[in-house]
C-alpha cells in the first residue's frame, strides 16, 4: 500500500511520519506538497503535525485553503483513509471533514507529555488491531488541543461511535486529572460518520520505537495497513 504524507508550509511531523512508515513499518510512502492536486495512487493520506502557516489566524484556518485540500475532500468522499494528527486534526476540523473545534488548552500553556488513551471504538479502520478499551501510551504536543463540540454534536458522535480515543489514566479510567488540555469528555480523537477520516491530537508516530520511549503508536498504523490490505484483496470484513 502507499501512504501520502502531506506537507504544508510550517508542517514538521512530516519527516517523523515518513521515518516511521518507511524505516519502522517498511511501507511505501511519499511526501505530497500542499500545492499539488493529485492524490491518485495513495491508499491513505496523513495530515501531520506542525504549525501550518504558523497557526496564524487559527490553527488549520489557512491550510484548509491549500489546493491539496480539495483533493483530500474527494479522497475522503471516496472512502479512502485520511488521518490528521495534531495540526492535521485541526485542519480537518477547519475544513469541515470532521465536526467540532480545537481550542486553546484550558491552562493556556503548550503541553508536551506522554498521555494514556483509551480506545473507545476498536472496529474502526484505524483501531481494528487494538483490543476493546485498550490503553495506549502516546505523547501529545500542542497548544490548541482542547476539543469542543456542542451538545447535539457530542450526542451524535456518541451515537455513531465516532469517538476513537479518550484521555485516561494508566488504568483506563476516564478522569479529569488525565486530561492534558481540557477537552470536552476527555476526547482525544474522533472519526467522521463514515469512519474513514480520523483526527487525533496525540502523536502515534512518536511512539513506534522503544528507543524513543514507546511502541503503542504502531498499532494504529498496523490497523490501517491491515484494513487497506484487506480491502485490496477484495475481502469482506466479517464483524
Amino acid at each position: 500500500m502507499r501512504f501520502g504524507v502531506l506537507v504544508f508550509p510550517g508542517t514538521w511531523s512530516d519527516r517523523d511520519c515518513y521515518h516511521v512508515l518507511d524505516k519502522v513499518l517498511g511501507q511505501k510512502v511519499e511526501y505530497v506538497w500542499h500545492k499539488e492536486t493529485d492524490l491518485s495512487g495513495f491508499d491513505c493520506v496523513i495530515l501531520p503535525g506542525g504549525f501550518s502557516y504558523g497557526d496564524y489566524l487559527r490553527p488549520g484556518a489557512i491550510a484548509r485553503f491549500s489546493p491539496i485540500m480539495t483533493e483530500v475532500a474527494k479522497f475522503a468522499a471516496a472512502g479512502k483513509l485520511v488521518i490528521g494528527i495534531c495540526n492535521g486534526f485541526q485542519i480537518l476540523c477547519e475544513s469541515g471533514l470532521l465536526p467540532g473545534v480545537l481550542m486553546q488548552n484550558n491552562h493556556l500553556q503548550y503541553r508536551c507529555q506522554w498521555v494514556y488513551l483509551r480506545v473507545e471504538n476498536n472496529s474502526l479502520p484505524f483501531t481494528s488491531r487494538t483490543e476493546e478499551s485498550q490503553v495506549l501510551y502516546i505523547p501529545v504536543s500542542h497548544y490548541e488541543g482542547s476539543y469542543y463540540a456542542d451538545a447535539e454534536t457530542l450526542k451524535e458522535l456518541e451515537a455513531n461511535k465516532q469517538i476513537a480515543f479518550r484521555y485516561c489514566n494508566s488504568l483506563g479510567e476516564i478522569v479529569e486529572e488525565a486530561n492534558p488540555n481540557g477537552s470536552i469528555d476527555n476526547i482525544a480523537g474522533i472519526v467522521n460518520k463514515a469512519g474513514n477520516v480520523l483526527g487525533m491530537m496525540p502523536h502515534p508516530e512518536r511512539a513506534c520505537e522503544g528507543i524513543v520511549g514507546g511502541l503503542d503508536g504502531n498499532v494504529i498504523f498496523e490497523s490501517i495497513i491491515g484494513e487497506v490490505t484487506t480491502r485490496a484483496m477484495g475481502c469482506v470484513k466479517l464483524d
Binding site: W12, D16, D55, Y110, C112, R206
Partner: protein, 733 residues
C-alpha cells in the same frame, strides 16, 4: 561635518575610537559610515574587550572542523560522514525589556546560525537566570521568557531537550537568556559564509526590512541601562513561521551547487552580515539599499543598513544561478531580491540607487581596537572568601526538613514546569528526555547517540572566578559522562558586567583562564561561543556567569545511562570525593537557602575530576552500573533523592560523618558521582576504580518506599517526590 557626541553615543563609539576612524579613513566619516563602524566595532560584533582573552581557550582536536570565528557556528566530526554544528548565544537585554519577544528572537537567531551552515537543527537548549520568584516582576519575566522560547521553538519543530535555570537576586534587574542550537549535517555539505568570487550576487531573502531593532548590537547589547523598560522599541518581533520556511528553503538550497555562501542577518543586520561575509574571504561588496524591500516608507540608508528585522538571510549566489535559486524560494513563498554583488576591491560600498552613501575598507571596518584593561581582585571578594562558617549552627535533628526545603527550592526542584511547555520529542530522536543529567538523542541511520547539556554556576564564579570557570566546564563534562558520553566539543556564552570596570574584568579574565585550564585537562575544544557584557543595571553587575554548552558522543546508543535507580537491592556507591574533614559549604545552595549566606570558596581538583569521569564512562561502557548521577546543587543527599525520585524507588543509606553534618549532607564538593549496581558487580567496579585511582565508597541499598539516611533523614519517598516535583509550580502559583 563634525559628528556630535550624541551621535557617537547612539552607536556606542568613544571619541578615541572616532579619532582612529578619521585617521585611518583619511577623512571625517558620514552618518551612514558612522553607523557601520558603530555596529561592527560594538562589543557585540567586535568583541573589543574579550577577543584577547578568548584566545586562551583551546580550539583544537582531531574532530574539529570549524573553529570559533571562522563561520556562524563551530563544527565537529562525529564519524559516519556526519558532523555536529553548534553554538550558544545570549539575548539578555532584549529579554529584560520584552521577555516573550526577546527570548523568541534569541531562539530565532541561534537557529539561523545553525541552518546557515547547511545543518538541520536537531536540538535546542536554554540556560536562564532570573531574580527570585517571590517577586512578581521576576515571575513575569520568567513566565514570558519560557513562553517565548516555547512559542518560537515549537513552531520550528526543533526539540528543546535540555537546559538549566537559576534564581538569584543578582539577576533581578538583568535576567540572562542564553539559547543554544545543535544541528547535524553531512560533512561534505557544510556551507560556508565566505562571500567570494567577483561578480557573484548578494540575494536578500525572507522578511522585509523595517525600523525594528535599530542599534540593537551597538546600543542594547553593548551598554548598560538605567531603566530597560524604556527601550522596548529596540526589541525585534519574531515570526517563527517565516523562519521555518527559511530553514527548509536554505536546507534545500544547501543541497545544490547554486550558491557560494549563506549568511544570516542577526545583530547589526545587513551591515554585519554582508561586511563580515566579505571580510572572511578578503573580498569587497557593493550593496544598493534601494533594492532592499522595506516594510516601512521613508527609511534612510542608515536605517536600512542597521535594521535588525528578523528572519532574513543573505545568499551569495553563483552568477548565472539566480533564477534557479529564486525558484526554490518561490516554492516556499519567500521573497528574494538581488541587492548587490561581490567585488574584489576590499571595499564596502553602499549605494542608494545611483548615489554612493558610504564607502570604507572592509579591513578597517572589521578591525576594532582591542582592549585589555587591567583586572584587579576586589577587596569585597577577599572578605567573602575568608568567611568562617563556625558561627553557623550545624544541622541537629532537622536534616529531613532541610532536605525537603532544598528539593522544593526553584534552583533544585524539577524543571518539568518549563520543559513540558517545550516540544522535546519532535524529530523522534529524544532517547533521554529533559530532567536527567544530560539529554541524549539518537543519530538516525547510525548506532550513535549525542548527549547535550548546559551548565554554569554564577554563584561559584562570583566567589571564586577561576575555580568557578573550571567547575562550569567540569560539571558539564560530568553530566555527559553520567550519560556514558565522551565530551567532544564545547560552546559557551560569557555573561558579565561592564568590562571597563577593573573588578568585572578581573572576573572575566579569571573565569576564562579557569575554563581554559579545564578544557585543556579534560581535552575538550571550544568550537564556538558568544560574549555578553554590560549586564548591569544601576551600577550592579550580574554574577559573573559563564554558561557552558557541551556535546558528548555515545558510540553505541544502547550503552547509555540515566539518573534514576533501576532495581531493588542494587547497591549505591559514591565515585570520587575526598576523605578530608574540610567543609564544602562555600557557595552552596544550602548556605544561601537556609542561612541566607553567599560566601566561602568553591574548589575543585581537576585531575581527580578527570579520573572520576573516565571511571564512570568506563563502568557504563562495560555495563557494570545501572545508574549514574552527578552530585551538584544540594550535594550528595539531593543527588540520592533525585535518583530515587527518577527511579520511583527508595533507599536506605548510611555513611560515616566526620565533620559538620550539613557539609556532609548538603555540601557541594565536586568530582562526585552516585552510581547503582548489582551487588555481584561491586568487585568489577572496585577494580575499575582502583585502576583509575578513584576513591569509592558504599552508601546504601536501593529499595522500599522510604528515603532513609540512617540517623539523619527518614521520609516517605512520596513526600520527597512531591517536594521536588511541585517546587517550581508552587513558586509560580
Amino acid at each position: 561635518m563634525p559628528i556630535s557626541k550624541e551621535t557617537l553615543d547612539d552607536v556606542a563609539l568613544s571619541k578615541e575610537e572616532y579619532d582612529i576612524i578619521v585617521q585611518d579613513l583619511g577623512r571625517e566619516p558620514n552618518l551612514v559610515e558612522i553607523g557601520l563602524f558603530g555596529s561592527l566595532w560594538s562589543e557585540h560584533c567586535g568583541y573589543k574587550h574579550s577577543k584577547l582573552l578568548l584566545k586562551l581557550l583551546p580550539h583544537a582536536s582531531p574532530r574539529v572542523l570549524v573553529k570559533p570565528g571562522e563561520e556562524n557556528a563551530g563544527a565537529v566530526d562525529i564519524g559516519d560522514g556526519l558532523c555536529v554544528v553548534m553554538k550558544m548565544e545570549s539575548h539578555n537585554h532584549p529579554s529584560a525589556i520584552e521577555p516573550y519577544q526577546g527570548a523568541a528572537t534569541g531562539v530565532g537567531g541561534i537557529v539561523r546560525d545553525i541552518f546557515t551552515m547547511g545543518a538541520r537543527p536537531v536540538a535546542l537548549l536554554n540556560s536562564l537566570r532570573f531574580g527570585p520568584l517571590s517577586e512578581a516582576r521576576n515571575r513575569y519575566l520568567f513566565g514570558g521568557v519560557v513562553s517565548g522560547i516555547a512559542g518560537y521553538g515549537n513552531c520550528l519543530g526543533i526539540p528543546d531537550v535540555a537546559g538549566e535555570v537559576y534564581f538569584s537576586p543578582s539577576y533581578s534587574a538583568n535576567p540572562l537568556v542564553n539559547a543554544m542550537c545543535v544541528g547535524i549535517a553531512e560533512k561534505r555539505r557544510l556551507v560556508s559564509s565566505r562571500a567570494s568570487g567577483k561578480g557573484n550576487l548578494l540575494m536578500l531573502v525572507g522578511a522585509d526590512t523595517g525600523r525594528d531593532g535599530l542599534h540593537g548590537a551597538s546600543g542594547l547589547a553593548s551598554q548598560t541601562f538605567e531603566d530597560e523598560r524604556e527601550l522596548r522599541p529596540t526589541v525585534q518581533v519574531g515570526n517563527p513561521f517565516m523562519e521555518k520556511l527559511l530553514l527548509e528553503a536554505c536546507l534545500e538550497l544547501a543541497d545544490t551547487d547554486y550558491i557560494v555562501a549563506l549568511q544570516d542577518l542577526g545583530a547589526a543586520g545587513l551591515t554585519s552580515s554582508a561586511i563580515e561575509s566579505a571580510s572572511k574571504s578578503g573580498s569587497g561588496v557593493i550593496i544598493d539599499v534601494a533594492k532592499v524591500p522595506r516594510r516601512e516608507e521613508g527609511m534612510t540608508p542608515y536605517e536600512v543598513m542597521l535594521s535588525e528585522s528578523q528572519e532574513r538571510m543573505l545568499v551569495i549566489v553563483k552568477k548565472g544561478c539566480e533564477d534557479k535559486v529564486k525558484a526554490i524560494f518561490d516554492k516556499w513563498d519567500l521573497r528574494s531580491d538581488i541587492i548587490g554583488q561581490v567585488t574584489d576591491d576590499g571595499l564596502a560600498k553602499i549605494m542608494d540607487g545611483k548615489e554612493m552613501v558610504a564607502k570604507a575598507p572592509i579591513e578597517l571596518l572589521t578591525s576594532p581596537p582591542l582592549y585589555r584593561p587591567k583586572g584587579v581582585k576586589p577587596n569585597w571578594l577577599e572578605a567573602l572568601q575568608k568567611s568562617d562558617f563556625s558561627d553557623i549552627p550545624d544541622i541537629r535533628g532537622d536534616a529531613s526538613s532541610v532536605l525537603l526545603r532544598l528539593l522544593s527550592s526553584p534552583n533544585i526542584a524539577s524543571k518539568e514546569w518549563i520543559y513540558r511547555q517545550y516540544d522535546h520529542q519532535v524529530q523522534i530522536n529524544t532517547v533521554v528526555q529533559p530532567g536527567s543529567d544530560a539529554a541524549v538523542l539518537r543519530v538516525k541511520d547510525t548506532k550513535k547517540g549525542i548527549a547535550l547539556t548546559s551548565d554554569g554556576n554564577g554563584r561559584y564564579c562570583y566567589l571564586a572566578p577561576f575555580a568557578g570557570g573550571i567547575i562550569a566546564v567540569a560539571e558539564a563534562a560530568r553530566n555527559l559522562s553520567c550519560a556514558g558520553a565522551e565530551p567532544i566539543a564545547m560552546t559557551d556564552c560569557l555573561n558579565f558586567g561592564n568590562p571597563e570596570k577593573t573588578d568585572v574584568y578581573y572576573q572575566l579574565e579569571q573565569c576564562i583562564r579557569g575554563m581554559a585550564q579545564a578544557c585543556k585537562i579534560l581535552n575538550i575544544p571550544v568550537i564556538s561561543g558568544n560574549v555578553s557584557l554590560y549586564n548591569e543595571t544601576r551600577d550592579e553587575a550580574v554574577y559573573p556567569t559563564p554558561v557552558v554548552g557541551m556535546l558528548g558522543l555515545i558510540e553505541e546508543i544502547d550503552r547509555l545511562c540515566t539518573t534514576g535507580f533501576k532495581r531493588k537491592d542494587d547497591i549505591v556507591v559514591l565515585l570520587g570525593g575526598t576523605d578530608t574533614d574540610t567543609d564544602s559549604l562555600g557557595g552552596s545552595e544550602y548556605l544561601e537557602l537556609v542561612h541566607d549566606l553567599v560566601a566561602g570558596i568553591p574548589a575543585i581538583n581537576l585531575n581527580l575530576e578527570k579520573r572520576v569521569q573516565q571511571c564512570c564512562r568506563d563502568a557504563i561502557k562495560r555495563g557494570i552500573i545501572h545508574s549514574a548521577h552527578d552530585c551538584s546543587d544540594g550535594g550528595l543527599t539531593v543527588a540520592l533523592a533525585e535518583s530515587c525520585i527518577a527511579g520511583n524507588i527508595g533507599i536506605r543509606a548510611k555513611w560515616k560523618i566526620a565533620g559538620r553534618v550539613d557539609s556532609e549532607l548538603f555540601g557541594e564538593e565536586q568530582s562526585r558521582i552516585v552510581v547503582s549496581l548489582e551487588p555481584s558487580r561491586l568487585r568489577d567496579l572496585e577494580r575499575l576504580a582502583t585502576r583509575h585511582h578513584v576513591p569509592l565508597q558504599k552508601l546504601g541499598v536501593v529499595g522500599g518506599s522510604r528515603f532513609i539516611i540512617e540517623n539523619m533523614v527518614d521520609l516517605p519517598l512520596d513526600d520527597v517526590t512531591d517536594a521536588w516535583k511541585g517546587g517550581l509550580q508552587r513558586a509560580m502559583a
